[in-house]
Structure formats: structure tokens, C-alpha cells
Amino acid sequence: MSLMTANWNPLGEAFYRKTELYEMSWNLREGLKDSLLSAAPYGGPIAVLREPHRRSPRSRPQLEIYSASGVSIASFPWKSGPVIHLGWTVTDELLCVQEDGSVLIYDLFGSFKRHFSMGQEVVQSQVLEAKVFHSPYGTGVAIVTGSSRFTLATNIDDLKLRRLPEVPGLQGKPSSWLVLTQDRQTKVLLSNGPEFFILDNTSCTSVCPPGLGPHYGNIIHMCVSFNYKYLSVFTDSGHLWTGPSHLQDSLSLVDTKKTSRPEQMVWCRRPKSQEPAVILMWDHLLLVVGVCGETIQFPVDDPCALVGELDGVRIISSTHQDFLQEVPLVCQDMFKIASMAPGALLLEAHREYQKSSQKADEYLREIKEQRMLGEAVIQCVEAAAHEYDTSTQKALLRAASFGKCFLTDQSPDQFVETCRELRVLNAVREASVGLPLTHAQFKQMTLQVLIDRLVYRQFYPLAIEICRYLKIPDYQGVSCVLKHWASRKVQQKDLSDEAIAHAVCSKVGDTPGVSYAQIAAKAYECGRSELAIKLLDFEARSGDQVPLLLRMKRSHLALTKAVESGDTDQIYTVVTVLKNEMNRGDFFMTLRNQPVALSLYRQFCKLQELETLKDLYNQDDDHQELANYYIAASYREKRLETRLSQLQNAVDEFNRAKNDFSAKATEDEMRLLRLQRKLDDEKGLRLLGLSLQDTMETLLSSGLHKQADQIYRDFKVPDKRYWWLKLKSLAEKSEWEELEKFSKSKKSPIGYLAFVEVCMKHNNTFEAKKYVSRVTAEQKVKSHLAVGDLEGAAEAAIERRNDAEIGAVLSRCSTTDRLLIDRLNRARAATQRK
């Protein structure tokens, strides 16, 4: 702690410090000399290609991938063409740009993913130089070819090659160039001898950084800041110009007194930087040039690589890795010698308190008098977030916690959150994991991305621990991790299907949000169908199993699962696939075992393929349904002959179904149809298609009694129906004499009340009364009432001593019938007494 400021170097108003991140665990015998090296920002992985230009087939160059701490992740001999440039995408995939313009993409573990080409013409002209850059659209690649043309691809996941316009006077490669993303446009900045150009989609414009006259010499190197906002260029007279990248303004122009071209040049600044600087590296020297004009020199004994970060620069050498950054303001306040910032006082107070010294009280008092205790706590917490060393973090957080004790209204959120985040950061900074993220970088990349990266690097247990520790909802946290783990697990070739299925199931269990169907799909993609089926069994949602089963050509199983899911659309989908896949017989057999699917398909056929419906019934020997089918079909027929033949089919099927009732009914119908046709032809009626009753009614009303009687006998029409019909039609035609004759032809099967009522319906009281006497005893009262004969009704009711009937008569009596009412009431009393 006491040495906090030992590695601080003043630069203008601010300080720069270089802290060691790791001793690299790799073992590079030849150092970084003659190697292509690329390290991804945000503590990303490092790719090293040793001697990229060696082409003898006996000793191929070796491509190695390391974590940021130098732990080997993958290593394999490079068998493809000569590599010009290495770069990492935002999703930690390695891009290898080859001389012939093809770009090969490998994942973190060195397995080949895919490749694309930067254009056909490049094969001839060859790539001279390439750059991989990041923009809001993703990762891009830019190349300059032997014919001095630039080609850009702004997003390699959505490849659109853009060939930029020619640069006047450019031969071979430019002396320096870079890619700039500005105003949603990607441009190239390049210098060629004394000239300086901006190259965009359509034009090539000559520009000049303000204040950098031609007498400062030619631009031989340049770099742009992490956020593309600032540019710095280096001229062969040793001058370093800095300014905003839109070139409207300048920040500074510093003479470095070095005329040789720096090997690397990187911006080193942080958000809200006080003293941004550019870092230049020559053979044995690292020079930090502040915008203020001051410089710091660090000796370098080994070739290094500079990696620009959001808030500093990582310096990777063959033995160790350092982080160079401007000391954050809050840390300056905390640790500057003789700082009187409240945080610094609080830290001191806590230190004294631990020594049990009363000075602690004095310091505290001083802060409290200035009412700065809250501020002090916040400073301590913020400073802790910026510190890399865990003991410093602890000291600061303890001081903050100590200060918090004297505050009543301080929200603990920031403190708690920082503690949690630092714990996570410390865990991922461990050399075994190797993600040297600063707090600012972590905030920028977000927790979700950090977890994704951990998952990608297969640090599953750590990722799960972090999710649980930070209480991330399962959907975004644990479930995601488990899903990836399981997808990875199924690819493990050395394990048996059972072992993998068991392992997956025991870990994943029924964690919400993890779909076994997805895992199974992965297994199937890796050619493990058996495993996929085993895994699908664990999928609770039957519906999710269907698409994969179909893809695996397990159509029967798919149908079963679709039916289980209850999703009719899924069932339809499977049925359609089956229909095309199988011959008809097998298809029908399959459906037969799945009633739900069968009824769905039948519904479909009813509307779309009637013939198929018939075949379906045929297949099932469902004669009953087949018969019904023919009956329905017969009604669609216009011509009598075809209708009859359809009906005959129906009769046959009914007979097969042993449904003699329906067979008989259908035969009767056929007979009726023929008869109707005959009568229509003979008498000019329109009977065809009428029901039996309607036919008879029409006949009767047309006076064709003989024909009606014929039907009555031929079709065994029940007497009741016949009598009703006759009664109705005679009354309708007011043939009252005929009616009376008919009523006497034999004893009426429908009784005589019906006669009374029908007559009354036609308002013929006279005729009605004729039948009253013939009505049965039970209906006497009713019929008297029907003809409006109250006296008679009363008589009958009293005679029958029926309470209900007496009541019925009473309810019809009006007040004028005093006598009758009295009589009825007496009778009622008498019956009730009984």
C-alpha cells in the first residue's frame, strides 16, 4: 500500500502507471520475433503464428491460440496458404487473412468454421496488407492488394465486398493506412509519400491534418483511438500530430526527436481522460507521448505487442503482460501523496482505527466537519473498482465499510454491487481463466457478454457460479449456460450415448428455459441420432420434439408426439409429410392407429378430397361410414339414375355393416324415388325428393287418394300417420262429409279429440261437435272445452270426479257463470273429501 505511487509517472496534469497483469504461462522459445500476433481487446485471446512466411512443406508454421494469461488453448500446424494478417472478431473467432485473399475463420479452439474470399481478382494481385476492424455493424476486414486497390467488408457475417476507388499515384502499398468508422460510414485513411487521403465508397479525397504543414515531412505511421474519435500521425521528421479523427482541429504536435518509423503506435486514453497519450514503440523503447507534449520513456528489452483497450493499453511480451493506463482521477485523489481528499482521509482514518489509534477519530471528525463522509465512502468504493490488486481493493472497501457505519442514510447499493462485481472480476482475472478485464471494460461489455464469453471458453462451472452469485434470473443465466454445456456435451465422442444422456439429464434436470429438443437437434447434427432420440424423450413439450423427429425421418414417432402435443397444426404437418413419404396403404394404416390424426385428416378430406375419404373408409372396412358416404354422395347427384346407383351402393354397405334398418330405409327411399318419378311423369306433379309424408300430403291435396292409399299400403305407413294426414287434408279442403265418412270407416287410431281440434282449427264448431261424443272418457273434458261447451265440460268433469279437470274447467269460467262455478266448487269439495 505504501508503494502505491511507486509506479506512477507524471504526465502533464495526470499520472500514468504500468502494472503487471500476468507472468505469461506460455513458453515461447524464440520470443515474439518473426511471429504474427493478434490479441483481441477486452482481455481476449491471443493468436500467434510463428514464421508465417515459411513455406516448406516439411516444416509448416505453427498456429497457436492462448488465453490472455498465456494458457495454451489450441495449437496446430498451418496447412493452408501464407497468412498476411491475423485478427479476432467481436465474438472471439479468429480470422486468418491469406495472401490469396481468402479469409479462414477458426473458433477459439482452433477448429475450422468457414471461409470467405475478399474477391476473385485478389487471387492474382495478392493481398499486401490487411486489417481487421470493429464497428457497430460487427467485425470487418480491409485489404490492400498488389494492384494498390482497397477492398472492404464491414461485416463478415453479412458479407458485402466493397472495392474502393483507385488512389491516384499509388504504387504497391501505401506508407501507412488505417480503417476509420465515422458517421455510419467506413473509410480508409492512407498516406503515400507526401500525400494524405481519405478514401470512401465513392471518392478519394486529399486532406491535410490542420497544423501539419508539408515541412514536417511525410506521414509514415498513424493510429486511431479505440472509439475512432481521435487520430494520431507520425511523420518522418519525428513529429507526432494528434487531433480528432474528422480532421477539423488539432490537439497537439510533438517533436519526438526520433525519425525512424515506430514499430507500433497505439492510443492510450480512457473515458473522461485528463491527459490522453499515444504510445509509440521502437526496438528497445516505449514512448508515452502526452497530448500536453510531455513524454515518459520505458525501456523494453524484448519485442512486444501493444493491444489498445477502452481505458489503456496492454503490453504483451514473451515473458509477461503489463497494463499501461492513466491513473483514474479517483485513484489519484486517494493515493496522491499528502492528498486531503475525503476518501484519502477516510482510508487513513480506517488505517489508524485498525491500529487502535485515537487518530482515527481525528480524521473522521475532519471529514464529518466538512460533511464529506458520504463522498468519502463513494470515493473509496470507486477507487477499489479501479484497482487490480486484491489487497488494495480490500483496504479500500474496508475503509468504505468503516465510513458507512457513521452514516445513516447512505444507500448500500453501490457498495454491495461493487463488492460483487469485484469478486467476479477477480475470479475471471485468475491466470487459469485469463480474462484481465478492468472494471470499466467490464461495465462496457456487460455481464451478459462476460457470461457468454466464459461459456464460449467452456468455463461452465465458473459461469454458473457467477450467475448464481449475482442472482441472474435463470432464463438469462443458469439455463443459458446449461444449454451450451449440454450442446457441447453431446459432441463428446469418447462417451457412450447412455453416459451422455445420463450426464445431461442429471445436470439439466428440468431447469426452465432449457429445451431438450434443441440439445437433441445438436446431437443429431453431430450424427448421433440415437442420442438425439434419447434426449428427446426428456423433452416435456411433445410439440418441440416433432420438427426434429421429422428431420430424422422418424415420422411415426413424430406423429405420436404431435398427437400428444395436442397441437393440430403439428399433426397436420406430420400427416402431410407422411402422405408424401409413404404409399397409400401404409399411410392409412398409420392413421388408423392415431384416431386424433385420422379425424383431422377426415375433416380435411371432407372439404378437399372426397375420394380419399371413401378410400379411407374402405381401408378400415368401415361399412357404416361408407354407406353414409354414399348417401351423402347421392344427394349431390342431379340425375335420378346415378342417385339411385349411389343409394344402391349404400344399401350394399349397410348390409355389410349388418345394419338392416338403414338398408331397409334406403331401399324404401329408392322405391319412393322411382314412384315419385313415375307419378311426376304421369300426373305432372313435383314430388321427386319429398319425404314420404310430404308426398302423401301432396297427393291427397291434389285429390289423388288412390295413389296415396297405394303408398300407405306399399310403404307400411302406420295407421296413425295415415289418419292424421287424411284428417288434415280433408279439413283443409273443407270436405266435411268426406271427413265424417272417413271417421266412421273404422275406429280412429288417433282418437277423436284430434278430429275436434282440427275442426276447431278451421273454425268449424258445428263439425267439431259431431266428434265430441266419440271422444274417450279421459279426453271428454278437453274436447268439450275445445268446442267452448262449458256446461258439457263441467258435466264430464264432475262425472269423472277429477280434481285437475274440474280446476281446468273452472279456470275457463268467467264471472257470469256463477251457477256453474258453484256447482263445480261443490263437486271439487266432494272429490277432495274423499
Partner: protein
């Protein structure tokens, strides 16, 4: 009037949100096809659409002309056609015809199909087969629920009944699940879900699946309990004649989408009048649940009161008169208008009912329900058929006879069927096949052979297959077991006691005290027992499929919330107004509020008509 609500009756949730949601989504979909367009609407979506968005709303969103889908060539001149349709193959085929006709004459238009409430794969398949899949765009209008009243929500899917129960086509089950899910996401979380019936169970599972797919949030529940019931659990109730006012109006005039059209015989003028029937209509609100015999008394009392209110005018000074005119008169006039409408409607009902020997018919129904004088009932029905009194009513009575008697005697079955065919034509052979498949009209099975076989098979194979087999058997010969159920659940009150219809003592009042609707009785019993325990005998007779589940976690039902006493009853396959009245009565008695969600409002005629199969 006849009974007052308990004072602690909970408040119903506000369902107008559902309308707003549907409207907003429809507008969004219309906006997806910018510019002027003609809108073709499926006939049975017209009335529901009218409740959601009026013409001016549609015009605002650049709908030029409106057409009803009539399966004829179109005459529209617009370059953009929008079709608002149900996912039916028939309609899609018609659209294919329209598009192909345009193609042959080289006319270019944009077509958009909006399926309500969802699209089916089969529809897309037809589009593909007809080669126009690429020419049209399709969308879904998730219009699942239409609130018809404060406590009635309808899916307006009458075909649900036939498709699901007759054809075994389960595609609407998911729709029901989604509808439930929508209610859950707005008014849930539900704490308890009960149900009975295969379809209910599937709808419940579909809902459950959808809930699991999303994260649950802690919300204040507005609906605590849910009861799902299949229509085929209780066919008896919807087949009985309705005698409660609202039901009678539905039986007589057909209420469509909460709206009835009174013809000239009611309005006593040449014009028909459309009246919205809901709780906003104060007169109707008071009589809708009343037994018809009370309605006249009530209406005349009401008329007297109204006259008195009018009479107040006499002896008023100018100032009083002014306030009377400005404040009361309009309301009185409105009430007067409604009152006279309902009075003439009642008269019209009376006229119709006496003409058809309504009393005789009711007597027969009651005898069937009680199970005596079956022979007389049978001859009554026979006479009914022979005299061709009504094609539908005859079938209804036949079904009632079969259901209550557990099938017809073989002799009767044949002769009645033969009589019916002679009266109404041979094509009804198909209707009878349908009725038989549903178990509505069957022949009595000799002995109990089937159950014996079932239990034997059940012992041999494991549970799952046994379940499937039982299903297969029960579909072969569904038994109604009405008599046994009626005894177990006391559905038919003893007939010797006088039943006072003015002061009902139980739900039987909706059938003149002759029968407590089975569906509602089950709901009452399950809520009382908080589950199915103790009802095993009954559920066995109902072919099982009962379930009871606790809802999702995160339900904050404790505290002062009303939710536990708000019960959502979902009828899959339709429910009748009588059942709704019975539930309202039950709610008032027990301090519940029932919300009825149904696939459609049904009654005996609609139910039977859905099963007619004259020309396929």
C-alpha cells in the same frame, strides 16, 4: 326483485380491456396494408366485429368498402383487398378462386388474409396447393374473446361444438387454451383450476404449456378460480326448453351476439328493431333471470311505477317541471320504450307457446326428467313426429328421451326413427348417425356387457392404454347414466312439493322447479368441496376426466382481494342462457360472482341444428 344479492358479493373485473386489445390489434393489422383497401368480412364475424370497431373506425384506417364473404365472384375495384376470415378451408378456397381469377385476366392486386383468431396449417396448405401462397400475405388477429355482457364472454365459435365433439377435430382446443391464457395474463394468476371432460383437460394443458413458456410476474389476481366443463358432460340441460326470460327470448327470437332483432309482430309496426340485451338495459336486467311466469307481473308493476313517475308531473310548478324534463324524462322515456318492447315480446312468446301445446311439451319434458309415464311421453313424441310439428323439436325430444332413459328400447328406436324418416326425409339417416356418435340418441344396450369388458381389459393392460381403450369404448356407446346421476346429485326435486317460482330455493327454478341443471350442480358441488373428493360416484358415471389443480405460483390471493370468490366458468361447446341464470342465482346465494366464458351461446335448436347432416 325476487331475491337480493348478498351484500358481500365481489366486484366483477372490467372486461372492456379485451375489446380495446382486440381493436388496437385490428387497427395495427389494417395499418400493415397502407393505403385504401376493400375489406371482406366473414359473415359470422360481422356481428362480433361490430362490437369491437364501428364503421368509422374502419374508415379511419383506410377501409374503403365493406363486403360480406358470400362465396361469389367479387366486384371490387380496389387494388388492395383485405380478408377478415375464420380459418376455414372453404373460405380460403374461395379466396384462392378470387386471386386466380384476377391472375387469368392479368389484374394485379395486393391481398391480405387476416385469420381470426388464429391461422391453421391446413389453410396455408390450401393456399400452397392452389399456388397462391406467394401472392398473399397472412396474419392473425388474436381476437379470442368477445365480452357480451358484464359476466358473459364468448369465443363466438359455434363450430367448436360440431368440430370437436362430433368430428373429433381438436384444432379449436388450442384456441380455447389461448383464450384462457389471455384471461390469465390479464386477470390472473388463477389459484385453483377445476375441470371435467376430455376437451377441458386438453384446453387446460394447452393453457398450462403457454403459461410455462413465459416468466411469471407477481400480480394482483382478479379472478381466483376457474372451472372448465365440456358440453358433452351435460347434454340434458341444453336440450330442455328454456323458461327463464332471457332463455325464452333466445329460443323464440334467437339472440345473436348479445343482440336480438324483434320483428314486426313485436314492434307492432312494419319495421324490425334491433335491441342490445345486456345489463345496460335496466328493464331487461331485472327480468332476464326470472321465470317466465313472473315476468308479466313484474312488467305490469313496472308499468304502474312508470306511470306514477310520469304522473308526478301533475301539480309541479315550472321549476320542478324543468328539472323533471331535463333529468328524469329522458330516462323515463327510454325505460318506457324498453318496457313496451319487452311486454310485446312476452306477449308474442305467449302466443307462440300456447299455439304449440307448450304446456304439454313441458309436461313431457318434466316426465322424462323425473322418469315416469315414459310410454305416454313416447307416444307424445311419436305424435309430434307424425304431425310434422317441428323437425328440430322432435329430434330434441327424441334425444331427451334417449339421454334420460339411457337409450331407447330397440323397438322404439327403430319405429321412431322410421317415423321420423317418413316425415322429414331419408337424408336424416345421416343425422341419426351423428346423434348416435355423440351418444345423444342411441339404442339401449342389452345388459352391462360393455362395462364388464372394460374392467376386464383394464386389468390386463396398463393405465394409459386402458384409458385409451375406455375412450374408444365410450365413443362406441356413450351412456348418459342420467337417472343414476340425477339420484346421486339430487337433480330432480321431489315433485309432490309445491315449488314457489317467485322465491326460488334452488337452481331448479330455471326449469320451473323440475330439474337442477347438471352442469351447474357440478360446479356448485366442486366449489363447495374444493375439489372432486366425495363426487367419485358421479364422475365415474360421467366417464371421468375430472381434474383439479392449483394455479401458478406468484399468485397473491391472500389479503383483501375478491379474487377467491370470482369464479370463471368456461363451457367448451357452448352454454345456454338458462345455465347462466342458474349460475347467477348460485352466485347470489353463496356470495360468488360467476363469469361465464363459452365457445358460443347455444340452445336446443342450435345444438340440434349443428348435428343435422342433410347435405353435408
Amino acid at each position: 326483485m325476487a331475491y337480493d344479492a348478498r351484500r358481500d358479493c365481489p366486484q366483477l373485473p372490467d372486461f372492456s380491456v379485451l375489446k380495446r386489445l382486440a381493436r388496437d390489434q385490428l387497427i395495427y393489422l389494417l395499418e400493415q396494408l397502407p393505403g385504401k383497401k376493400d375489406l371482406f368480412i366473414e359473415a359470422d364475424l360481422m356481428s362480433p366485429l361490430d362490437r369491437i370497431a364501428n364503421l368509422s373506425t374502419l374508415k379511419q384506417h383506410e377501409v374503403d368498402k365493406l363486403y360480406k364473404v358470400e362465396y361469389k365472384p367479387i366486384i371490387s375495384t380496389s387494388d388492395q383487398l383485405c380478408f377478415l376470415i375464420r380459418p376455414r378451408i372453404k373460405t380460403v378456397k374461395w379466396i384462392c378462386g378470387v386471386v386466380n381469377a384476377d391472375k387469368t385476366v392479368g389484374r394485379f392486386r395486393r391481398y391480405k388474409l387476416i385469420f381470426a383468431p388464429q391461422k391453421f396449417y391446413a389453410c396455408e396448405m390450401v393456399l400452397e396447393e392452389q399456388g397462391i401462397f406467394g401472392d398473399v400475405t397472412t396474419d392473425e388477429w388474436a381476437f379470442y374473446l368477445l365480452p357480451l355482457d358484464d359476466d358473459i364472454i364468448s369465443l363466438e365459435l359455434p363450430e367448436f361444438f360440431r368440430d370437436n365433439f362430433l368430428a373429433g377435430d381438436q384444432r379449436w382446443v388450442r384456441t380455447a387454451g389461448s383464450a384462457l391464457h389471455l384471461l390469465h395474463s390479464i386477470y390472473g394468476p388463477f389459484s385453483k383450476i377445476y375441470g371435467i371432460g376430455r376437451c377441458s383437460k386438453m384446453a387446460y394443458e394447452s393453457w398450462r404449456e403457454q403459461v410455462e413458456e413465459e416468466e411469471n410476474r407477481g400480480r394482483q389476481a382478479e379472478i381466483g378460480n376457474v372451472f372448465l366443463i365440456d358440453r358433452d358432460v351435460d347434454f340434458v340441460t341444453p336440450l330442455c326448453s328454456q323458461v327463464v326470460y332471457e332463455g325464452l327470448v333466445d329460443d323464440t327470437f334467437r339472440i345473436k351476439c348479445g343482440c336480438v332483432e324483434f320483428g314486426p309482430e313485436v314492434t307492432s309496426s312494419d319495421k324490425s328493431v334491433k335491441v342490445m340485451l345486456n345489463s345496460q338495459d335496466k328493464v331487461f336486467n331485472e327480468i332476464r333471470n326470472e321465470h317466465f311466469s313472473n315476468v308479466f307481473n313484474f312488467l305490469s308493476q313496472k308499468a304502474k311505477n312508470l306511470q306514477m313517475a310520469y304522473d308526478k308531473r301533475r301539480g309541479m310548478d315550472i321549476k320542478q317541471m324543468k328539472t323533471f324534463v331535463s333529468e328524469e324524462l329522458k330516462g323515463l322515456k327510454q325505460e318506457h320504450r324498453l318496457l313496451s318492447l319487452h311486454i310485446s315480446a312476452s306477449e308474442s312468446i305467449m302466443k307462440k307457446k300456447t299455439k304449440q301445446d307448450f304446456q304439454e311439451m313441458l309436461k313431457t319434458e318434466h316426465s322424462l326428467l323425473e322418469g315416469f309415464e315414459i310410454r305416454e311421453c313416447t307416444s307424445f313424441i311419436e305424435e309430434h313426429i307424425i304431425r310434422q310439428l317441428s323437425m328440430i323439436e322432435s329430434l330434441r325430444l327424441l334425444c331427451l328421451l334417449s339421454l334420460t332413459e339411457n337409450g331407447l328400447l330397440s323397438k322404439d328406436y327403430r319405429s321412431l326413427k322410421a317415423q321420423y324418416l317418413q316425415s322429414y326425409g331419408m337424408n336424416h339417416l345421416l343425422t341419426f348417425a351423428n346423434l348416435k356418435r355423440l351418444g345423444l340418441l342411441v339404442e339401449q344396450q342389452p345388459g352391462e356387457t360393455l362395462t364388464v369388458m372394460e374392467s376386464k381389459v383394464g386389468k390386463l393392460v396398463n393405465d394409459k392404454t386402458a384409458g385409451k381403450l375406455t375412450d374408444a369404448f365410450s365413443s362406441l356407446a356413450k351412456k348418459s347414466n342420467f337417472r343414476a346421476l340425477s339420484r346421486k346429485l339430487n337433480l330432480v326435486p321431489k315433485s309432490d312439493e309445491e315449488y314457489n317460482l317467485r322465491v326460488p330455493r334452488d337452481m331448479a327454478y330455471i326449469f320451473s322447479g323440475a330439474y337442477i341443471p347438471l352442469s351447474c350442480k357440478l360446479i356448485e358441488q366442486v366449489l363447495e368441496r374444493d375439489g372432486w373428493t366425495g363426487l367419485e360416484d358421479a364422475t365415474k358415471l360421467l366417464n371421468g376426466h375430472e381434474f383439479c389443480a392449483t394455479g401458478t405460483n406468484g399468485a397473491d390471493v391472500k389479503g383483501k382481494s375478491d379474487a377467491p370468490r370470482i369464479v370463471l366458468v368456461m363451457f367448451l361447446g357452448g352454454c345456454t342462457f338458462s345455465e347462466i341464470s342458474a349460475l347467477r342465482f348460485l352466485g347470489k346465494e353463496k356470495g360468488y360472482k360467476f363469469i361465464v366464458v363459452t365457445t358460443a351461446i347455444t340452445n336446443s335448436s342450435r345444438l340440434i341444428e349443428a348435428l343435422l347432416d342433410s347435405h353435408m
